[in-house]
């Protein structure tokens, strides 16, 4: 297990939450509150974001990239906390499928996040202390509303495309449902129109792990100069398993021992897979805020597009001119292909223009973040086709 103590991560998180490094920040004052599904208004609030490429004169080449649960806006540039490359540099960049020499890419940190958009780690202006659990519970729709306000701020009336995987895919679907005229093309990857009972269950285990850590202190760990590292690491370890697959774990680790030839007859990390998970857990807590994890998993749990339209998902996309491309992965058991098929059926029923591809891989849910050449070809082909339809110049 990672060394536990009063690590610098609490300080890092609270600084990054309010004054994010290497980021643009849009601030919305008292005159522009964010109306939340919870029935309250968040005000003032801010959205941290990154942009890549150049907005064309007609303002028609903007691509919104929506990040997943533990992602952030550093999609194609070095992460200020970890120093690692952007999380989707395989997809976004010059000459990449989402070509920043052609498109103007905007990637905002979600509301409730911890990398510069207002969330539970941000300072509550009413108290001068971090929001903690006083932060209102937010939804995927709230995230999308905040993104729409950011686009208003940037003077972008309509997106060329909205692209994202997992929770990012949920935001893409919500964009298409909430603002059909503002999305020309939608690319939801490895997601669903609702969070399944099994997925809610996994999230609940993760949250309980965080809350069971005495250092969590009912969400007031910042004031105590500590953080629930152990709990959050366990949450991450459990979640990480759901992002992989039995086959991928077996291929990668099998039953191999970690730096030893025989079992130690102890609870040390004998197996490589244990050591790997512990590393995943401990490195995660360096860059992510525990309360933020609670809020964002909750937002995913609440996501159910059909519930917003009398149980019929097709109604969510009725009359939509948006062109969709849905992608799933064969070994993804968190958001299995059947969920993507449900999206496709709904889109067909509503007469929307939809493509759907399932990609064969043993890498599980995380495949959308990894080297999947077939996914790259499909994303590129779909966006090229949509760009022709929108009249975007090649390499503008």
């Amino acid at each position: 297990m990672a060394e536990v103590g009063t690590a610098p991560d609490a300080a890092v998180h609270s600084r990054e939450a309010d004054a994010p490094r290497n980021s643009l920040v849009a601030r919305f004052g008292a005159d522009r509150p964010l109306k939340l599904d919870a029935g309250v208004e968040l005000s003032p609030f801010q959205v941290a974001y990154k942009t890549y490429g150049t907005l064309n004169a007609e303002r028609t080449n903007a691509v919104l990239v929506c990040h997943a649960l533990t992602g952030d806006h550093h999609v194609a540039s070095v992460h200020p906390v970890t120093g690692k490359p952007g999380w989707w540099e395989t997809i976004v960049g010059p000459g990449r499928p989402v070509d920043t020499e052609r498109y103007f890419v905007i990637c905002p940190n979600v509301i409730g996040g911890c990398m510069g958009s207002t969330g539970p780690a941000s300072i509550n202006p009413a108290t001068g202390k971090p929001w903690g659990l006083d932060f209102p519970v937010i939804t995927i729709r709230d995230m999308v509303r905040a993104q729409a306000m950011l686009l208003d701020e940037l003077g972008i009336e309509s997106l060329f495309a909205a692209v994202g995987g997992s929770m990012g895919g949920m935001q893409v679907l919500q964009w298409a449902a909430s603002f059909p005229r503002r999305v020309f093309a939608a690319l939801p990857i490895a997601c669903a129109t609702r969070h399944s009972a099994q997925n809610i269950a996994f999230h609940e285990v993760g949250r309980q792990a965080v809350m069971a850590d005495p250092e969590w202190r009912h969400g007031r760990y910042f004031e105590a100069g500590t953080s629930p590292r152990r709990g959050l690491a366990v949450a991450r370890m459990g979640a990480h398993i759901t992002y992989l697959s039995d086959a991928a774990l077996h291929r990668k680790f099998g039953r191999k021992f970690q730096d030893r030839d025989n079992p130690t007859f102890s609870f040390d990390a004998d197996f490589e897979v244990e050591s790997y998970l512990r590393h995943q857990g401990s490195s995660f807590v360096e860059r992510f805020d525990a309360n933020s994890y609670l809020y964002l998993t909750r937002a995913m749990d609440y996501f159910d597009l059909a519930a917003d339209c009398n149980g019929v998902i097709a109604n969510a996309f009725k009359g939509s001119d948006t062109r969709f491309c849905v992608i799933s992965f064969t070994s993804d058991w968190l958001f299995p292909t059947s969920e993507s098929r449900a999206i496709v059926h709904a889109l067909n029923a509503s007469g929307a223009r939809v493509s759907f591809a399932e990609i064969v891989t043993d890498k599980g849910h995380d495949a959308f973040l990894l080297d999947e050449p077939e996914m790259f070809a499909i994303v590129r082909g779909f966006l090229d086709g949509a760009a022709r339809a929108r009249g975007l110049k090649a390499g503008s």
Binding site: C325, H345, S355, F356, F382
Partner: protein
């Protein structure tokens, strides 16, 4: 298998027109009104959808069973989904399309009647093209060779053929009656991909047509 993939042909390469396009596909494309909404069942590698887009400016969608075919189509920017004509057509609402096309795929579906009825429900028109099992060469192979026929167009041995429901032009007309389909146009192509004489009698088409293309509507 429902596919016109190069790797997985229900029919082998058929006659090509002067522009290099397959004659049967060109014929299908010619039956479609410009700018129409079209669903291509068994989209294969997307050749027909591409042709329809280029020549007729249609709003085209496709269904394709093989994953390779789908991914190839989507990478070309075509709106194609992975699906099965036998099971997935029921998900489409009535009158969703102007034309629903089943090109060289009829013989590979499990329930041709249900598929045709669904096509006529989803679309105002249905276009079906298929290899004619009544062609004289096929008849000769069965009659005198005494075995299931293999031709350039239908190169499979009976045990590994994806084609499970062969019919003759005459048989297909019976299906049209059963499925309440009205024949608006029919064309038979000979072995060289040339349309047979328009006013030839049906028995002549049934004997000399290697392929047939039917434009149908609801009766």
């Amino acid at each position: 298998m429902l596919s016109r993939n190069k790797r997985d042909l229900t029919m082998a390469d058929t006659a090509r027109g002067p522009g290099g396009g397959r004659v049967d596909l060109l014929l299908v494309a010619e039956m479609v009104a410009p700018g129409a909404r079209v669903l291509d069942i068994g989209a294969g590698d997307g050749e027909l959808l591409r042709l329809l887009g280029e020549k007729r400016g249609v709003d085209g969608r496709g269904i394709e069973l093989s994953r390779e075919g789908v991914n190839e189509c989507v990478a070309k920017g075509l709106a194609v989904i992975q699906g099965d004509a036998d099971t997935d057509l029921s998900d489409y609402p009535n009158d969703a399309f102007d034309y629903v096309i089943l090109s060289q795929t009829l013989q590979a579906v499990r329930r041709p009647r249900v598929v045709l009825e669904n096509m006529l429900r989803i679309g105002r028109h249905a276009i079906v093209s298929f290899p004619n099992f009544g062609h004289w060469r096929i008849r000769l192979q069965v009659a005198f060779g005494g075995h299931m026929p293999q031709t350039d167009n239908l190169p499979y041995a009976w045990w590994d053929s994806p084609n499970i429901h062969f019919c003759t032009i005459k048989d297909f007309r019976d299906l049209c009656d059963v499925a309440n389909a009205k024949m608006e146009r029919a064309v038979a192509l000979n072995a060289w991909g040339t349309p047979l004489r328009f006013n030839a009698p049906w028995w002549f088409w049934n004997l000399f047509g290697e392929q047939a293309v039917f434009l149908l509507s609801r009766r």
